[in-house]
């Protein structure tokens, strides 16, 4: 973190606006996670499968996020990529218990990580291995191997186990994302 940004956060001066895009297969918990990140009083009780996309706003200590919650059903997946160029970060949510679609997931994740708007701009990617509370769910390290991420060194990515229902693991993941985004924006400025 640069001196000025920490100073501005110290004085509570206007947080930086950033755009992020939240992608992942349907039913992985994207909307539930974003709901969890909102302040308790603004959370919605009912979560239904997303159609098209929904913009959700929330903030961490120093950043104010505009998150594009994308729909994950097959027919909407091709819309994801058009949001990459205007975002400063990507959250990829996956269902750690969905072993059936692990191969499909790998495909989709690779398409995100190798997309030209992601690679050329070097924007950070945070992978959330969600639904870790479900018995028999794969661990973050299992998933790293299953997706072949251990062999994937280029780009900035990190993986975190989360549970959207309780919010477990979300804080740490968001801290990392904020730090990466800030780093990214500073590198852009210079």
């Amino acid at each position: 973190m640069g001196f000025f940004s920490s100073l501005s956060s110290l004085f509570g001066l206007g947080k930086k606006d950033v755009n992020i895009v939240v992608v992942g297969l349907d039913n992985s918990g994207k909307t539930t996670i974003l709901n969890q990140l909102k302040t308790p009083e603004t959370r919605s009780q009912q979560i239904v499968p997303t159609v098209g996309h929904v913009v959700t706003n929330f903030s961490t200590q120093n950043l104010s996020f505009h998150a594009f919650d994308m729909a994950g059903q097959m027919k909407y997946r091709s819309t994801w990529e058009s949001y990459f160029h205007s975002s400063q970060g990507v959250i990829f949510v996956l269902d750690s218990s969905d072993r059936l679609r692990m191969e499909l997931l790998k495909d989709e994740l690779m398409m995100v990580m190798e997309h030209k708007d992601v690679v050329s701009r070097g924007i950070p990617i945070v992978i959330l291995a969600n639904k870790m509370d479900i018995p028999g769910a794969m661990t973050a390290s299992d998933i790293t191997v299953a997706l072949g991420l251990n062999l994937y060194r280029s780009g900035t990515w990190s993986i975190h186990s989360t549970c959207a229902l309780t919010g477990d693991g979300l804080d740490k993941a968001m801290q990392q994302l904020s730090a990466e985004i800030t780093k990214y924006m500073e590198s852009r400025r210079t």
Binding site: R99, M102, E103, Y152
Partner: protein, 576 residues
């Protein structure tokens, strides 16, 4: 990237195996669909088990088995259908003459095909055996006689079993089923047809061993229509909606395909195949069927053949493939260790497997609309999903002939012998040619000489022995009814020949001979001998003639030495 290249190019994700599963069933016993309240599409399998043991209805979710329940009868087919818009869909399992309906995975209803008429003698015999008036052996005799008189297929299933069962089983059959013999035909195939687009309920369509097709209302289980055809249906594909316009394509055991339309009573086959039809599906408003000659035919709904694919090996089955997002449609053909996707013009994709395949099923499994379930011969099952970025842009012509410039010429290696020979040919080309021409001329000359010899010596005679070269020729003089027959013999053998006979044979009804057997005491080499006999035509008014044979025979030889066949002229009437 760490991914192997070929995986990257594949249109399907890497197969993922279902956990701990061992499934043996035909592809007709597999279906996809939501059956519980969670609305998640499950894989439903009626597992045939092993000889009637372990017959189960199994349901899979994700990569695991979710539930299983026992089946009492061997399943032949399975269908997932909607019979109530307000509750969850049901499953129908065809077993014997019945449809077992499951709702929420619990037995819900049993529909049995109505009984056809029973042969009176047959039902009498069964009644008698139950009332102990006759014994089991007499029943067997009666049934055997009926089998000869009426045909095996016309008897009730229980009689058919009885005829083929051993003694113990026969006793059990009489005890258990003797009182309730029915002639309900075994169900051979099942399909579903949507009622209407406004009311997406399914109508069940079943085909039976008695050449009947029933359309059944799936709410009340009443028969809406009964269609009788000339051959046993084995596979039905439905198209359209029942209320508006529908077509049923029925493949029969006699390798015919019928098309039944709404409101038509007369059914003629639209495809008549000379060779056995092994499977049939509908894709893109086309009938696609395979025959035992490893051919896949694409035909219009009218039965007009549009294209044919020659396949390198046996096609196990066909499965339709549709991907509505990109408007892709194809047919998946299953071979021993690979699947191929074809449309009516091109080969679109090939996927290879390490193990022999049993069947594939394409549809919506879990949350993915385009999932392929691949079952292997060893009982394992794998799941693959059609990739979002996959397309059919690379197309191959099906009956591919390698292009002329791609064919490799067999160029011989430049060995020492080859070089020596080439050099000799370059230097002595002229002489080689001359020698060749001379030899060719020689061969032609000898051929001509031998031919001349043959034609001048061997006219109309057959010498059956090469050791004794004797020539025979015969002259017939006169107009009839009396003829004079002169036989000339010329021996060219080195020794003189002794003690032979000339035997003259013909139809005794037609000709009489003066001397039917002429002794030939001596045939000296190079000398010509003549023998004469008179022959009379018995009845010139018949105007009949037949061949006369002259045989030169020797007492110690089984076959004649030489034979002449003489075609006799018609005889004139006698001059009185």
């Amino acid at each position: 990237m760490a991914k192997p290249v070929n995986v990257n190019q594949s249109k399907w994700t890497v197969p993922v195996l279902l956990k701990e599963c061992e499934i043996y069933c035909p592809s007709t016993c597999v279906a996809f669909g939501p059956i519980l309240s969670d609305n998640d599409s499950k894989l439903i399998i009626a597992h045939g088990g092993h000889r009637g043991v372990n017959m189960k209805l199994k349901v899979f979710q994700q990569l695991e088995q979710l539930s299983e329940s026992s089946l009492a009868d061997m399943p032949t087919a399975l269908v997932h259908f909607i019979n109530d818009l307000s509750s969850i869909p049901s499953i129908a399992v065809a077993a014997g003459p019945s449809l077992l309906i499951y709702k929420n995975l619990k037995p819900f209803y049993k529909f049995t095909v109505p009984s056809s008429a029973i042969n009176p003698t047959e039902s009498e015999a069964w009644k008698a055996v139950v009332n102990k008036k006759i014994n089991g052996d007499t029943l067997l005799t009666v049934l055997k006689r009926l089998e000869d008189d009426v045909a095996f297929s016309k008897l009730t299933p229980i009689s058919q079993t009885y005829l083929r069962a051993d003694k113990e089983t026969q006793v059990v059959l009489v005890e258990h089923y003797g009182t309730k013999i029915a002639n309900s035909a075994t169900i051979t195939c099942i399909a579903k047809l949507t009622k209407s687009t406004a009311e997406p309920l399914d109508i069940l369509v079943i085909g039976t061993e008695h050449c009947e097709i029933f359309l059944i209302d799936s709410q009340a289980f009443t028969i809406l229509e009964t269609i009788k055809i000339g051959s046993v249906p084995v596979n039905i594909c439905a198209y359209g909606t029942y209320d508006v316009d529908y077509r049923l394509f029925v493949q029969t055991r006699a390798s015919l395909i019928f098309c039944m339309k709404r409101g038509e009573a007369d059914y003629q086959p639209i495809v008549i195949s000379q060779s056995m039809i092994t499977s049939m599906v509908l894709v893109n408003k086309m009938i696609v069927y395979t025959t035992v000659e490893n051919l896949i035919h694409f035909a219009s709904f009218r039965g007009k053949k549009m294209n044919t694919v020659k396949c390198p090996s046996k096609i196990k089955m066909l499965e339709p493939f549709i991907y509505p997002l990109k408007q892709l449609a194809a047919v998946i053909a299953v071979f021993d260790k690979e699947i191929r996707m074809y449309n009516e013009h091109y080969l679109l994709d090939t996927v290879q497997y390490e193990k022999p395949l049993a069947w594939v099923k394409y549809g919506c499994y879990g949350r993915e609309d385009s999932t392929l379930v691949v079952a292997f011969k060893d009982g394992s099952i794998a799941i693959q999903i059609f990739r979002r970025k996959a397309n059919f842009d690379t197309k191959l012509d099906y009956n591919q002939v390698p292009q002329a410039h791609a064919l490799k010429l067999q160029i011989p290696k430049k060995t020492k012998v080859f070089i020596d020979l080439t050099q000799r040919e370059v230097q002595l080309g002229n002489r080689i040619h001359k020698v060749y021409q001379k030899n060719l001329f020689d061969v032609k000359y000898r051929l001509a000489a031998s031919y001349l010899e043959l034609t001048s010596s061997a006219s109309a005679t057959v010498s059956t022995t090469t050791v004794l070269p004797v020539e025979i020729s015969v002259d017939i003089h006169g107009f009839g009814p009396t003829f004079r027959m002169t036989i000339h013999l010329l021996s060219s053998s080195k020794q003189n020949l002794y003690d032979m006979h000339l035997s003259i044979i013909s139809d005794p009804e037609l000709y009489d001979f003066d001397t039917p057997l002429i002794p030939v005491h001596l045939l000296a080499s190079g000398q010509s001998y003549s023998f004469t006999t008179l022959l009379y035509c018995k009845d010139p008014e018949k105007a009949a003639n037949c061949d006369v044979r002259a045989l030169l025979v020797h007492a110690k030889r089984a076959t004649p030495i030489v034979t002449a066949v003489i075609k006799m002229p018609f005889s004139e009437f006698p001059l009185d």
